[in-house]
């Protein structure tokens, strides 16, 4: 009924990245799912398209891990929405993951930019 075991390996990277981006969007205050998706899209200059099918399970996961909390609230235009807030653990996680991300980016960049060692 599912392909979780095999798929897990494939989405691991994406998942981690999406989690990081979600945490980052929540840094300045609470936001609902649609807002988070909009924010990621907007902040990435529309380069990153958020798959809604992954966004909500990701939020679910973050909530389960205690990195965000959620509560129902009312949006600016009077719609009911579920708002997510960063917890202290979530902030810590954001910092450490951001650092790791920077290291990866730097490392990958170094590799890509390197002269061909043999040539």
């Amino acid at each position: 009924m599912s392909t979780r075991d095999t798929e897990n390996e494939r989405i691991a990277l994406l998942q981690g990245t999406l989690d990081l981006l979600i945490l980052r969007t929540l840094l300045f205050g609470k936001e609902h799912g649609q807002g988070i998706a909009r924010a990621i899209q907007a902040l990435s200059g529309n380069e990153l398209l958020v798959d809604h099918g992954s966004l909500y399970p990701a939020l679910q996961r973050l909530e389960a891990k205690g990195l965000v909390t959620a509560e129902w609230g009312t949006s600016g235009n009077n719609r009911k929405a579920r708002y997510y807030t960063l917890t202290p653990a979530g902030k810590k996680q954001l910092i450490s993951e951001t650092r790791q991300w920077e290291r990866i980016v730097a490392a990958v960049a170094r590799v890509l930019a390197a002269e061909n060692p043999s040539g």
Binding site: M1, S2, T3, R4, D5, T6, H32, G33, Q34, G35, A37, R38, D51, H52, G53, S54, Y56, P57, Q60, R61, A64, S75, N77, R79, K80, A81, R82
Partner: protein, 878 residues
């Protein structure tokens, strides 16, 4: 956490709000509202996938999948009814055997007394070089109770079968006389009314307490029972209370019906030399050390015994010191008698369980391999490996739960059967081995563990399934791996080995029972009914008692259906016995023991009705009565002991007796008979005429032989009427045939031989099913290669022979591996055997031979199927 943290509807609401927010944004950007929502929905993507992922993120998924696995399991089990039936039967056998045996072990060996802090309770008993021999007499108990300081309470009790009268009706009950503080020492609360206390020892008024069991059986739980009176002897006691339901007394197996205070001024208590108490129970003070308490009690006891009039050699042998014994589980008579047989049964049940596990594992493996393709497809379709393993384990546990239910029923039925076996005989043993929470917990744990163990192997194999290969190559090739064949054959060999151990035990126990049945008892066991007759109060002199017995005997002998009848105090193998000290001219006893002889009072006709043969001299006649010379018969053992080669006839036998010795003249010698036990050699016996008694007896045993074969039970009513016509107050009880009396002494042997052979045969059947299953399955898989073999010229008989040869190898390996274990097991049980030894090669040869024959027979059908494979069809269709 099993329940879901968040409800589906909440998640749906969140997604709905997302879409509306997105639509709002699109409208704000200038899109017409009607299009905006549809566009937002499109942009969100597949709603179902989002929901599904949310759903899987929930922890209760586990539970949901379990439900799925169970449903799937049920379906796949229904598709293979033969497999399911065999597995469920196997499991039922394993779980049933273990639950049944455990409930017996629990009832007989483990259960603590249902009293307050049972671990603080101790029995005080005397012991000497010959081992323990009961508690000190009442005066000894009084001193111990008054002078010890280590105990918070000490109570004495003595039980006996009593003739009582309620509402003018006579009956026999198990009665117990106790010191007044008995129930306080135990810390029991009444079920109804009140229990006794120390004041009641004054017998003013005389009160009694009945057991809940007796209240239920005799009075139908009528609360009006309080205030009713019971006559015991010439005293009348008033019922004041009922003891709690779970309390049966301190002797497991013999529940007490009524309890009343010891009469401190009664005959028995006054006589300081009579060691008549049944037991002394005491409660250690909290924190008191058992060793210190024992030392204290022992020194008081020794000072008490220093004034005893018993011969010092007897004291050293039986009553030298006092010791404390844990009373947490009650008196240990039943435990001593049954611990070994029960341990043997536990071992047997454990082996049966191992065998059941091996059998189920093997069947599951075979099935798992044939389901290889199914798993491969599921894997390829994206199912996780863990999911498949879980599916398999769930199925196995489902099977075990399905098997455990008939298993528990089987156990319940078997235990009831065994309970009724225990209740037979002159001394019925009442055990309450029914289901309780401990037994149920045990059954659950056994079921679960067995399910896990037998499910692991198949699950492990499924875990290693490579979907690509499985699908590409198909199940045929997969199954041909050498590993799986080895494993299946190994499991069959393991089962054969276990069966050998069980069969050797069964053969030895069956042989034991058969040998004991062949033991020369010295008397006839056919067609005789015995019953106990007890005189009412008032017959304190020999004359009137003898007159009543004479009349009773005559009235019975006059009945048309009666061939012969006789009276005696007890009969052989009834569990009753009497001994006395004798003086014989020309024999110098070295010890007191040497001067003892067992004796019985019997009427004329006793030896004839029991078929005991006379070796020399003459038997008793009705002229051996008051006024003529007192005569006696002795048995061979007594003649040998006291007279050696001399002729005992005409010699005299002088019984030592308080109140004057009494001398009998020996007129004959009879053959030895077994008396207490079939395994022990015969004892020295003297037979004295009932009409020339050594002392007055209130209770005799009537032995009646019918004229027609098997007519003994039909005699019961006329015999009863005949006896009651002499005196309606005579109490008739303990009606039992001589044959069942002998049978009841073989209780443990019957139990062991019955259960071990049932389990042994079932084990053999299981092993054959295992072999049959593995062979059938393998031959099915090897159709193609067998077809090729035959196409290349192999004859059908060669193919069949090959199959048989393979199974022969497996069986022989199993037998060789099982043999040392069988020998060790037999050696452990050696003391329970009789007429056969653990070292007897015959029991191994017989068992191994039987197993080999049955094994080859179960390989015969698959072998024939292999031989009948048509090469053309096999090659064409694979």
């Amino acid at each position: 956490m099993w329940f879901r943290k968040r409800r589906d509807s909440d998640f749906d609401a969140e997604i709905e709000s997302h879409i509306l927010l997105e639509a709002d944004r699109l409208v704000a950007e200038g899109m017409p509202p009607a299009e905006a929502e549809a566009a937002a929905r499109r942009a969100f993507g597949n709603l179902t996938i989002a929901r599904e992922k949310f759903f899987e993120g929930q922890r209760w998924l586990w539970f949901h999948q379990l439900g799925q696995d169970l449903r799937y399991g049920f379906r796949s089990l229904r598709k293979a009814p033969a497999f399911t039936a065999v597995v469920i039967l196997t499991i039922a056998l394993g779980v049933g055997a273990n639950t049944g045996v455990f409930s017996l072990v629990d009832a007989v060996l483990l259960r603590a007394l249902p009293v307050e802090n049972p671990q603080e309770l101790v029995f005080l008993e005397t012991a000497g070089t010959a081992g323990p021999s009961g508690p000190p007499s009442y005066p000894g108990f009084s001193r111990l109770r008054d002078e010890t300081t280590s105990f918070s309470g000490m109570a004495a009790f003595a039980s006996d079968e009593l003739r009582i009268e309620i509402d003018g009706r006579l009956e026999q009950v198990m009665g117990q006389a106790t010191s007044g503080n008995y129930f306080q020492v135990l810390g029991l609360k009444p079920r109804l009314g009140r229990l006794m206390d120390a004041e009641d020892e004054k017998l003013a008024p005389a009160i009694t307490v009945i057991s809940e069991r007796y209240w239920r059986r005799r009075f139908g739980e009528d609360p009006g029972v309080i205030g009713k009176s019971i006559s015991i002897g010439r005293k009348t006691f008033t019922i004041v209370g009922v003891t709690p339901a779970e309390f049966f007394g301190l002797q497991p197996g013999s529940p007490v019906d009524i309890t009343f205070p010891i009469d401190k001024n009664g005959e028995l208590v006054k006589n300081s030399e009579t060691l008549w108490l049944h037991g002394i129970i005491a409660r250690l003070k909290p924190g008191a050390s058992a060793d210190a308490a024992q030392a204290e009690a022992d020194s008081i006891y020794r000072s008490f015994m220093s004034t005893s009039r018993f011969p010092t050699d007897l004291i050293a042998k039986h009553w030298r010191h006092l010791q404390l014994l844990s009373a947490a589980r009650g008196m240990d008579g039943l435990r001593r008698r049954f611990s070994k047989p029960l341990y043997a049964l536990t071992g047997i049940a454990g082996l049966v369980q191992l065998l059941a596990i091996a059998n189920v594992a093997n069947l599951l493996l075979a099935r798992g391999i044939s389901r290889g393709r199914e798993f491969a497809i599921r894997l390829a379709a994206g199912a996780g490996r863990t999911r498949i393993v879980r599916q398999l384990l769930t199925e196995t546990l489902l099977l075990f739960c399905l098997g455990a239910v008939p298993g528990a029923l089987l156990a319940g039925w078997g235990v009831r059967l065994i309970e009724s076996l225990f209740r037979q005989g002159r001394r019925p043993i009442t055990i309450e081995a029914g289901l309780n929470w401990r037994v149920l917990a045990f059954a659950l744990v056994v079921t679960f563990l067995a399910g896990l163990i037998s499910g692991l192997l198949p699950a492990w194999r499924a875990f290693r399934t490579d979907p690509e290969r499985a699908i590409r190559e198909g199940q045929e090739r997969m199954s041909e791996s050498r590993g799986s064949a080895m494993l299946a054959h190994g499991l069959v060999a393991f089962q054969v080995g276990l069966s050998l151990v069980l069969l050797v035990g069964a053969v030895a126990f069956v042989k034991t029972l058969a040998s004991l049945r062949d033991v020369d008892l010295g008397f006839r066991t056919e067609e005789a009914l015995t019953m106990s007759l007890r005189l009412p109060e008032g017959y304190t002199h020999a004359g009137p008692s003898i007159a009543v017995w004479n009349q009773a005997l005559e009235s019975v002998r006059r009945l048309p259906g009666v061939r012969a009848a006789a009276l005696s105090i007890f009969t052989p193998l009834s569990g009753r016995d009497r001994g006395g000290l004798v003086r014989v001219r020309g024999y110098e006893p070295a010890t007191t023991e040497d001067a003892t002889i067992h004796f019985n009072h019997v009427s004329e006709g006793y030896f004839e009705v029991l078929g005991m043969s006379l070796l020399r001299g003459r038997l008793f006649t009705d002229r051996d009565a008051e006024g003529t010379t007192r005569v006696a018969l002795i048995n061979e053992s007594a003649a040998r002991k006291f007279f050696g080669d001399r002729d005992p006839i005409g010699e005299s036998l002088e019984f030592r007796r308080t109140g004057g010795n009494i001398t009998y003249r020996i007129v004959g010698v009879v053959r030895d008979t077994k008396h207490m036990n079939l395994r022990e050699p015969s004892k020295r016996f003297a037979f004295l005429p009932l009409r020339q008694p050594r002392d007055v007896e209130q209770r005799v045993t009537l032995i009646v032989a019918p004229r027609t074969p098997n007519g003994e039970m039909k005699l019961l009513r006329p015999v009863r009427n005949g006896i009651l016509s002499v005196d309606p107050r005579i109490l008739i009880s303990d009606v039992i045939t001589i044959r069942s009396q002998v049978d009841s002494t073989l209780l443990t042997e019957r139990l062991l031989s019955g259960l071990s052979s049932a389990f042994g045969l079932l084990a053999m059947v299981l092993a054959s099913i295992g072999l049959y299953g593995v062979l059938s399955y393998r031959i099915g898989r090897q159709r193609l290669s067998i077809g090729i073999q035959m196409a290349l010229g192999a004859s059908p008989s060669f193919v069949a022979f090959n199959v048989l040869r393979q199974s022969g190898v497996v069986i022989v390996i199993g037998l060789i591996a099982g043999l040392p274990f069988a020998m060790v097991a037999a050696r452990m049980a050696d003391t329970m055997f009789w007429g056969v030894k653990a070292s007897d090669p015959l029991i191994y040869i017989a068992s191994a031979g039987l197993l080999a024959i049955v094994g080859i027979a179960s390989a015969y059908l698959p072998a024939r199927r292999a031989a009948s494979i048509d090469p053309a069809t096999a090659l064409r269709h694979g």
